[in-house]
Subunit: 63 residues, 6 copies
């Protein structure tokens, strides 16, 4: 506790996941006065075609 779920389209590198986790944990522990060791983060990476905005599936980025 606290629990954080981050859901993104596409994939993140392990370095991005580590940096996001460290940064989000720092923000929550500092602002909400929660001990850092209580923050649990789950990151979900979904294919672009599994996410829709405004009723339209996301397009994968051009290569």
């Amino acid at each position: 506790m606290p629990y954080v779920n981050i859901r993104v389209a596409g994939t993140l590198s392990k370095e991005q996941k580590a940096e996001i986790s460290a940064g989000v944990t720092e923000v929550i522990t500092r602002v909400a006065n929660k001990p850092a060791n209580s923050v649990l983060i789950f990151i979900d990476e979904l294919p672009h075609e599994n996410i829709a905005s405004a009723g339209q599936l996301l397009q994968p980025p051009a290569k």
Copy 2:
């Protein structure tokens, strides 16, 4: 905002995902008076063996 999460057993085709996303967005924007461009939908496709009903794992459909 609004956020919608749809979780199904097995897989959906891209066409099914597009049609569900368009239909669900239409319903929510019409009934709840939310702008369509604010509706965000995430679709999760899980293996049948990761879902249980009445304490029993779902069986995959016969081929």
Copy 3:
């Protein structure tokens, strides 16, 4: 199964919840070929100040 979670800012009337539930269930059962009686929907109504877009909390609608 399927499971649907709809999260909105502010409140919906019981009539809106009923109409959204009926409509979303119709879309999913028709497009994904799932039996209607298997569709489970949970609607979460959150205060505007518990939702942020672009890093800013949502403003409640003017009265």
Copy 4:
């Protein structure tokens, strides 16, 4: 209804998923007086590097 979501790091065998589903359904139906056939469970298996505790990504278990 009720809906249960279980999220773990790494993978579970089909036998573990079946046993967890049966056990969790038994607990909820017994304690909360809900009919067993109404309990719906979704199990998410995430890579260790998609979960962080105390701001650090989980390490996969040594082989």
Copy 5:
């Protein structure tokens, strides 16, 4: 880690929440070989009218 989310219609007593939490944690730690102190459970209690099955809102229990 693991994270468990239990969502029910109506309310549970504190005793029911405690007994469900103890029971679910016991099942997961025993079957999945996870340390008990790593299991985090969040229980959401929703009004019956915020849950729909088969396209119909749940009815609250008769008093």
Copy 6:
């Protein structure tokens, strides 16, 4: 997109919610190269007795 769900025990002030939202959005947009206006955050505040760690309900903080 991305979608972030933050779940805490107890309540946060509006100022804390604003600061957490701004900070988390900054981290994700900077590290994952996502446009800030695409980050959607939902904050859930739960009673302590609805959260369990290690099979025990959380105790509310002493006054």
